[in-house]
C-alpha cells in the first residue's frame, strides 16, 4: 500500500494507453498513481507458458470443454487458448448485461490487453479525421492529422514500429524500423493489385515489433524480436510493445510511479465547491476495503467501455447523470470495427518456394472505398488483412505404415491465401452503454448494460468487401475462393470505441480537442472511449499518440495553474 493517498496525477488503468500516461508523467517528475483493477503481471516473471514447447501443453493448446462451457463469451476470442487463457477475464468474473449480443473481451492485469494485442499499428490519415464532417455523421473531430502527426512520430520512436515507407496518403508513413519480408504470394498479389487498380495497395502491415532495436529500446531492456510469433504468452525478449515490457518498467525506473493492483475504481470524486475532480474512490478487489486517492489531474484509461462505466457511476449533485455528462450523451455513439467477413483461396504458383521461420505480421490493404469522394451505396469503407503461406500436405486416409510414411514425408501443399475485413462502423446514438438500475457486481458497482448492433451500412459493406476481394483474388489467379460472414456479435473485434467522444461543442460531445472533459477539465480520457469515429485502422497507435499529446497538454496546464 502507498504511504500517501495524494499524488500529482492518477491514471486509471495500466493498459496500452494508461501505461503511456504513466510513462509521460513520471518521466517529467510528477508523482503518479496507476490504479489497476487486476492482478500484477510482471514482465518476464509472470509469463508462465512463454517457453513451453507444443507437447508440453496437456491439451495441445485446446481449451477444455469444461472451460468452454463455463465461458461461452471469452472462448470465442481467437487468442483464448491453453497458452494464454490466464490473461483473459473469465465470463463469471465480471458479468454484464447484453441488451443485444456483445462479446466483451477483457484483460484485467498489469498491461491489460496490451499483453495479448495483435500489435498492428497503422496511422490514421487526414481522410479519417475529416470523415464525419465530410460524410455528415457523428460530429466533426476537433483535431486533424497535423495535430497528431508529431505525436505519432513521438510514440512510434519509443515503442518501436516496424514498417515500410509506402508513400500513401491514405496511410501515412511513420518512424519505421525495417520491415520483414512479405511472402512470395503476398508480394505477387501486391504486384497484381498494383497493375489492375490505381487506388488499391497491398503493403507490409506495420506492427509494434523490434526488427532492429535502437538505442532507446535497448535502454528499455528489450531485445530484437525473434520471430517466435507466440506474443500472446508474453515475450521474454520484449520483442513487441506492451505496457508490461515498456512503459510501466520505464515509469518505475523514475521513482515517481506508485502502482496499486486489485484496485477496482468505483468512481471519480467531484468536489462541488472547487468545481473539479479531486480524486478517485477505489475498492480493493479482495478485501472490499474502500480507499480514496487524491490528485490534481485524473486520466481515465480503463479501456473504452469500462471508462464509460466509471464516468457513468461518478455521480454528484453537479453531475447527477455521470461525470461531465451535461449533454446527456455519455455512453452513446459507441462504435466498433466490423470483422465479420473473410475470403480465402488457394494458389498453385511458386511450387518450388516456401517461407522459412515465422512472421509476426502479414500484408495489409488500406481502405480504398469512398476515400476521395462518396462512390458506393454505403458510407465509409474497410481495410483488409492479407496473408499467404503454405504448409505440408498430408493424406490421412490410410492406416498403418502407409499413414505413418505420409505423416513423416515432406511434401508441400498449395499456397493458402486469406483476407479478413476491418470495416468502419458509423457511431449512432442508439448504440450505447448504460448502468443497470438494479444488478451490481461483486464490488457494489452497477453492471454495464450494452446495447450495440450492426446496421444495413455494415451489411452492404460486408457484401462489397466479399465482391471486391474475390475480384482481386480472381485477377491473381487464386482458385477455390470462399467467402464467409461469421455474423459475429460486435465486441469480438476487440475494437469498441466511443461513448465519451471528442468534439468542438459541449452540447454534442464530452471531450474537447485535448481530451479534457468539457465540463470538468482536470479529467482526461485518452483510451478508446474518446473516439469520435472509428475509421478502419487498428486503433491502439492512435490511443498512444492521443495519450502522449494529452499528457503534455495536462502538464502545460498544470504549470500555468489552469488545472
Amino acid at each position: 500500500m502507498p504511504t500517501t493517498n495524494t499524488f500529482d496525477v492518477i491514471v486509471i488503468g495500466s493498459g496500452l494507453s494508461g501505461g503511456w500516461a504513466a510513462k509521460e508523467f513520471t518521466e517529467k517528475g510528477l508523482k503518479t498513481l496507476v490504479l489497476e483493477r487486476g492482478r500484477e503481471v510482471k514482465h518476464l516473471r509472470d509469463y508462465p507458458t512463454t517457453n513451453k514447447m507444443p507437447w508440453e501443453f496437456p491439451h495441445r493448446n485446446e481449451v477444455t470443454q469444461e472451460i468452454r462451457d463455463a465461458n461461452p463469451i471469452i472462448s470465442k476470442c481467437y487468442a483464448f487458448k491453453e497458452d494464454a487463457m490466464h490473461f483473459f477475464v473469465k465470463d463469471a468474473e465480471h458479468p454484464y448485461v447484453q441488451e443485444k449480443p456483445f462479446d466483451w473481451i477483457r484483460g484485467y492485469q498489469t498491461g491489460g490487453k496490451s499483453l495479448m494485442w495483435a500489435r498492428q499499428t497503422q496511422r490514421w490519415s487526414e481522410y479519417d479525421f475529416e470523415g464525419p464532417a465530410r460524410d455528415g455523421f457523428a460530429v466533426d473531430w476537433p483535431i486533424r492529422y497535423k495535430d497528431l502527426a508529431p505525436w505519432y512520430s513521438y510514440v512510434e520512436k519509443f515503442a518501436g514500429i516496424s514498417g515500410n515507407r509506402d508513400n500513401l496518403s491514405i496511410l501515412p508513413d511513420g518512424e519505421f524500423l525495417p520491415p520483414l519480408e512479405l511472402s512470395c504470394v503476398e508480394n505477387y498479389f501486391s504486384e497484381v493489385v498494383k497493375k489492375n487498380y490505381s487506388d488499391r495497395h497491398v503493403i507490409y502491415a506495420r506492427c509494434a515489433h523490434l526488427t532492429v532495436p535502437q538505442k532507446i529500446h535497448l535502454e528499455q531492456g528489450r531485445a530484437q524480436c525473434q520471430k517466435r510469433n507466440l506474443c500472446q504468452r508474453g515475450c521474454p525478449f520484449g520483442g513487441y510493445f506492451s505496457s508490461n515490457s515498456v512503459t510501466i518498467p520505464w515509469a518505475e525506473k523514475t521513482g515517481n510511479l506508485t502502482m496499486v493492483h486489485d484496485a477496482v475504481v468505483h468512481s471519480v470524486i467531484y468536489d462541488e465547491v472547487k468545481g473539479k475532480a479531486i480524486g478517485v474512490q477505489v475498492i480493493d478487489a479482495n478485501t472490499m476495503k474502500a480507499t480514496e486517492y487524491f490528485a490534481r489531474v485524473i486520466f481515465v484509461n480503463a479501456a473504452a467501455l469500462n471508462t464509460n462505466l466509471i464516468l457513468l457511476n461518478s455521480i454528484s449533485n453537479r453531475f447527477p447523470n455521470g461525470l461531465g455528462n451535461d449533454s446527456g450523451l455519455l455512453g452513446k455513439f459507441v462504435a466498433f470495427h466490423n470483422y465479420r467477413s473473410r475470403v480465402s483461396a488457394k494458389y498453385d504458383g511458386f511450387a518450388d518456394k516456401t517461407t522459412d521461420g515465422r512472421s509476426h505480421t502479414s500484408a495489409y490493404i488500406p481502405r480504398f472505398r469512398n476515400v476521395l469522394k462518396q462512390e458506393t451505396d454505403f458510407l465509409r469503407g474497410y481495410a483488409a488483412g492479407f496473408s499467404g503461406g503454405r504448409g505440408l500436405q498430408r493424406n490421412t486416409d490410410g492406416f498403418g505404415m502407409e499413414l505413418k510414411n505420409e505423416l513423416e514425408k515432406k511434401e508441400w501443399g498449395p499456397w493458402y491465401v486469406g483476407s479478413h475485413m476491418m470495416g468502419e462502423t458509423i457511431p449512432k446514438e442508439t448504440n450505447r452503454v448504460t448502468l443497470d438500475s438494479e444488478k451490481k457486481d461483486d464490488w457494489g458497482i452497477p453492471l454495464l448494460k450494452i446495447d450495440i448492433d450492426y446496421d444495413s451500412n455494415d451489411d452492404k459493406m460486408v457484401k462489397d468487401y466479399q465482391e471486391q476481394i474475390s475480384e482481386m483474388f480472381e485477377k491473381a489467379g487464386f482458385y477455390d475462393i470462399q467467402t464467409s460472414d461469421s455474423k459475429q456479435p460486435p465486441g469480438l473485434d476487440i475494437h469498441e470505441m466511443g461513448g465519451v467522444r471528442m468534439g468542438h461543442d459541449p452540447k454534442t460531445s464530452l471531450l474537447n480537442r485535448w481530451n479534457q472533459l468539457h465540463a470538468c477539465n482536470n479529467v482526461y480520457v485518452t483510451d478508446g472511449a474518446c473516439m469520435t469515429s472509428t475509421s478502419t485502422q487498428n486503433p491502439s497507435l492512435t490511443y498512444m499518440a492521443l495519450t502522449a499529446r494529452a499528457a503534455d497538454h495536462a502538464m502545460q496546464e498544470m504549470s500555468k495553474g489552469n488545472i
Partner: protein, 175 residues
C-alpha cells in the same frame, strides 16, 4: 490451473516413460490407468485402445503410437475436450468396436494376429453407415492419434523440427 497441472504431470509420467510404464499402469484390471472425469473406461478398454492406436501408427524405425502414449492422449482429449454427447458416442463406438472384434475373430484385439487385425479394419470400412458411432469412434481415435504423434516431442525434435526461437523469417526460399 491445478486441474491441468495434474493432467500435465499425469501425462508426462505416462508419456515420457512410454511403453515401459504402460504394463505397470494397468495392474488394476478393472480401471483405466488415467483418472478420467467423464469416461468410464476399464483397463481392458484401455489395452484395446492402445492396440488400435498401434494399428493406426505402428512402431517401425520410428516410435509407434504405444511408445508415445497415444491412447492415453486420445482418452485425455475425449474426456477433457469433448461434450457429453461426443463422449457418449465414443463409448458406444468403443463397445461396438469390441463387439465387432469378437464377431470377426472370436477374440479381443490384444490377442489378435496381424492378419486378424487387418481383417477388423477392413470389416469396419465395410460396415459403412449402419454403425455411425463406430465410424465416429474410429475417426476420433485416428485423428487424436495422428495429433499425438505429430505434436509429440519425438516428432517435433526429429521429424519436423519445431523451433521455439526461429530468430528469422524469410518470405520466399526454395523448398
Amino acid at each position: 490451473m491445478s486441474v491441468s497441472r495434474r493432467h500435465a504431470l499425469r501425462q508426462l509420467a505416462c508419456v515420457s516413460i512410454g511403453a515401459v510404464l504402460i504394463p505397470s499402469c494397468m495392474e488394476d484390471k478393472s480401471k483405466s490407468s488415467l483418472l478420467l472425469k467423464h469416461l468410464k473406461v476399464t483397463a481392458s478398454d484401455e489395452q484395446m485402445l492402445a492396440e488400435l492406436c498401434e494399428i493406426i501408427l505402428p512402431k517401425s524405425g520410428t516410435p509407434g503410437a504405444k511408445d508415445i502414449g497415444a491412447h492415453l492422449f486420445v482418452l485425455t482429449m475425449v474426456d477433457d475436450c469433448s461434450d457429453a454427447e461426443q463422449q457418449k458416442n465414443f463409448i458406444k463406438g468403443m463397445e461396438d468396436f469390441t463387439a465387432l472384434c469378437k464377431k470377426t475373430t472370436g477374440k479381443v484385439l490384444v490377442d489378435c494376429t496381424t492378419e486378424e487385425r487387418k481383417k477388423i479394419t477392413e470389416a469396419i470400412v465395410a460396415s459403412g453407415e449402419q454403425q455411425p458411432e463406430l465410424l465416429q469412434f474410429l475417426d476420433t481415435v485416428k485423428r487424436r492419434t495422428i495429433q499425438a504423434y505429430t505434436t509429440s516431442e519425438f516428432f517435433l525434435t526429429k521429424i519436423q523440427v519445431y523451433e521455439l526461437v526461429p530468430g528469422r523469417y524469410h518470405g520466399c526460399v526454395p523448398v
